[in-house]
């Protein structure tokens, strides 16, 4: 069976370097699937879950932003955060969401940061609760 090479790279480490049959990544405006031999493309990632199909098993990772590049059957995923979905705990995230809801940012810069944290936590929560269900 044809396979594509998947590289998931964060600034700290190369998280994944493996062969895969199909990969679904969360782009900023929706999911996109990659099969071996996909045409060259560069995409902007959004927050969401990446699914990696490997010999009958599917691994899920939470990604937050970054890029994806497909070139000569190598799919490079550059992202700031990549966490296996199993490591996200619904209860922890809900607690964090609650504390964030209570905070009131003062300056415009803080407001931006607060919004970002809020949407990040919400996206993580979505990813975690989908996999738990």
């Amino acid at each position: 069976m044809a396979e594509l090479k998947l590289m998931v790279v964060t600034p700290e480490q190369t998280l994944l370097d493996c062969q895969s049959e199909s990969v679904i990544v969360p782009l900023i405006d929706g999911l996109m699937g990659f099969l071996p031999g996909h045409a060259p493309m560069i995409g902007r990632l959004g927050p969401g879950v990446m699914k990696v199909q490997q010999g009958g098993t599917t691994k899920r990772y939470f990604l937050e932003g970054g890029f994806v590049q497909m070139d000569r059957n190598v799919l490079s995923v550059l992202t700031n955060i990549a966490i296996p979905v199993e490591q996200l705990k619904v209860a922890d995230l809900q607690a964090r969401l609650k504390t964030l809801d209570r905070e009131t940012p003062a300056t415009p810069a803080e407001k931006l940061a607060h919004q970002r944290q809020l949407s990040q936590t919400k996206a993580m929560l979505r990813a975690a609760s989908v996999s738990a269900a």
Partner: protein
Amino acid sequence: MANARALDKRRKSIKNIKKITRTMELIATARFKKAMDRAMAATDYTQRMAKVVADLAKAGLDVSHPLLETRETSSKSVMLVLTSNRGLCGGYNGNVLRLATLRYRELLQNGSVTVDAAGKRAISGFKFREIPVNNGYLHFDDQPKFSEVDPIAQQFLDLFLTREIDRLDVVYTRFTSISRQEAVVETLLPLSNLAIADPKSVQPSGGSKDGMQSIYEFVPTAESILEEVVPTSFKIKLFKCFLDAAVSEQIARMVAMKGATENASDMIKMLSRTYNRARQSQITGEIMEVIGGVEALSS
């Protein structure tokens, strides 16, 4: 002639210090290797990032972004100074602080300056120089994490975009090679260029057939990707500053401790010589006394 016993005592204490500096050297070496590995791991990301930037550039995109614009007035600047939490690393912190103080004076002439400092040494150094520090970060050790640098980077981005600041300078020790690190000032905001790693690494990746324009399809659009590329490359640059500083710190400590160990060895050698001489003259003196006593009795 000095007292032989006092000399011996001193020699012993120097031997103890030598043991300590030797151990610190070994620890610094181990930490340096770890920090170096991390820095190497980060280059994988930067190289791929540079490739994306190169491919974007080939698409003939007009590169413009608020973060890339130079502002006419840069009256409100921020200076971020990266030093270590611990001392005993030679001129590492001193060099950075000296450069930072100079830059601070320069920037003051253009307007207000806020100083952010990472590392205990910078905070106490600025206190001594009576320069107020706005934010002090103490949680960076020899392995800075991206998740720790990211909020700081994001905070600078937000401040810059909301026009609270016009300029960001980072003062840190750049790592060029194992034998060469130097304190530098780098202006990260506004971003001067997008290429993160050295330009050499960008060129070979742009080597697909000439004449052909970009082979890539951009999803959703090249503009949208650019919008993400610019802040990301800023963050990566800042992260790289932190990594460089961590690697350089360990090298500086390694070199300083190596010097200290060598100096201790020299000192022990010298003290041993003086000690032996003192001991010998003491024995000679005692023999003379004995002989003198014997002669006094026999006469």
